[in-house]
Symmetry: D3
Subunit: 133 residues, 6 copies
Amino acid sequence: MYTVSVRDHFMIAHSFHGEAFGPAQRLHGATYVVDLEFRRPDLDANGMVVDIGLATEVLRAVMAGLNYRNLDDEPAFKGHNTTTEFLAREVFDRVVAAIGRDELGPGARGVESVRVILHESHVASASFTGPLS
Amino acid sequence: MYTVSVRDHFMIAHSFHGEAFGPAQRLHGATYVVDLEFRRPDLDANGMVVDIGLATEVLRAVMAGLNYRNLDDEPAFKGHNTTTEFLAREVFDRVVAAIGRDELGPGARGVESVRVILHESHVASASFTGPLS
Amino acid sequence: MYTVSVRDHFMIAHSFHGEAFGPAQRLHGATYVVDLEFRRPDLDANGMVVDIGLATEVLRAVMAGLNYRNLDDEPAFKGHNTTTEFLAREVFDRVVAAIGRDELGPGARGVESVRVILHESHVASASFTGPLS
Amino acid sequence: MYTVSVRDHFMIAHSFHGEAFGPAQRLHGATYVVDLEFRRPDLDANGMVVDIGLATEVLRAVMAGLNYRNLDDEPAFKGHNTTTEFLAREVFDRVVAAIGRDELGPGARGVESVRVILHESHVASASFTGPLS
Amino acid sequence: MYTVSVRDHFMIAHSFHGEAFGPAQRLHGATYVVDLEFRRPDLDANGMVVDIGLATEVLRAVMAGLNYRNLDDEPAFKGHNTTTEFLAREVFDRVVAAIGRDELGPGARGVESVRVILHESHVASASFTGPLS
Amino acid sequence: MYTVSVRDHFMIAHSFHGEAFGPAQRLHGATYVVDLEFRRPDLDANGMVVDIGLATEVLRAVMAGLNYRNLDDEPAFKGHNTTTEFLAREVFDRVVAAIGRDELGPGARGVESVRVILHESHVASASFTGPLS
């Protein structure tokens, strides 16, 4: 199995609901450094998993839709705790949608699964991995 | 599949038995930077894989049981080479025992598997991954 | 010249005022990974620059005063853009105050200067370095 | 499942063929930092996945066969784009060949699979993972 | 003293002249991860060392002038070994020229010195630091 | 000012004397990842600060004199706490001695100062910087 991974980041404000979150129930924020990984069993005609230039652009576009925002005000996240693991899934869903719109090129249809890792600090991270159907 | 990972470290002395270890047969030591990763297929009611605050406390407690020790003197390791891969399994077993004692909260019962990675330097690491039964 | 450095982090929300900040004028947030470095020309009787246990506690206490907050609501920051470089100076001032209260032990009086580095992402950081008078 | 991983690097020149590569069609180069990971379900009699000293030597020997070269001039790569993912597979094949020649010791026959990760910058990497048959 | 630092990278081919370089006399290449650091004694009216958005653009422009090239073919480097330390100075000179053209904004005139660090692998780096006159 | 830096590591056991060290008074150990940095105001005829190949060999030789040892048994350290800052100075002294024996080549006489950084974990490090007289 081959993978290719690209990295970018976004910076947001949010708060959490539920006693389990302790002081993180207050409005605070985070930098998320994001690794976006594509997996496929063989390479395309160019010898690539995906076009890394297009992958970088897709990731940048997904970041732009989240960056410099207060997630508490985003209708899409109403009623959800925007934990690191929840946001990893959200980035995954947006990347998969971009693949569906052919923004990664037709070659990206050979991708079997995608992994999104969000690093929230030097000591904590979360990820979501799922297949492309 | 979702994951959440937290990081801590411990510092120990030990020596190895067997010619394969060369100069590491002498008493020496290591810093192990530990990544503890929890995996589950869906999030709990709070939108979490595990309570990251409790996960950090469990990891710290496991580290405290190993930190600042000469492992050659620990009865638990008698007859074993405490290699990095062996210690990754040891940390895994202690975390699984803590989950069994509900120290990660009842929500942690949704965790399917745990991965423990030990970084012994900037150029070497080892890990153990296993299911929660 | 000797140095000792310890690391911790804090997570905050804030917004900036001024066209130069572009989309960062919106309420957003950041994780700051903080390196706190002490410099002195010789070691104390224990062979230390500072007591690294006390240094870690002082840094944790300073982090606790900033963590999980919306800096726009903090009276101390009224009228200031809480940029990364501004916050590096703020952490510096709080550490110096703690040294003045002997929280790092009497040995810390041998420290000549302190450096605070704040990493806001994998691609950007800021620092403040100043003498202890 | 246990893993052990060792790290080294090599530095090469190459160029790519195909419009998808844009300016990377020009002769340029890269540093590849390589993580070589061995996976097996149980430890050998010494408590090891593989002899980490031998693993380091095998990786160094494979690096020496690639380092300080213009890959466009290597007959082995004729007609191929030596992308990061392609080179991850190439390192994998050379490591597997070394295991076949018993250069990792007879104990390495317990290894089930190998993963090779190539980091080409702070924001991009690729990998190949395959079984040892 | 305050600093702000931004990171980017470039990928080039080159060869070295002189027996001291051993196998690096052959045509090979490197990824250089670049940290560009600005230093000044006080902050501007916005609370900044430099406009970090402009700093990122200036660094990207300098990288674009070096990226995906064979430095052996660049007239500017004729007769020079393009070692990591030499290239750190080259990036410094190009950044200083951009400041002279006001590409970092008029506020950048308060910058006292600039440091450029080039990381060529996980085990080697070089830097050049100089004043702005 | 130019710098060049190379990295290696060593793994030792030791214990500390003095209440300030708490549980670190017990026999334990550490991995030290070492950055060795050379500083000089101009480059030599090859365009280098030092011959990076020789620098790597000198660092490796110094590491070999410390690696896989119990520092409590080393006569050279009798009566000293082998703290991270103390060991940074020790590595510095051994490197300076090697330069005095011309092991870095005659060109290394242009080096003005040397910095040694020891990373003992992901959250703590120490350094010593001194001139070459």
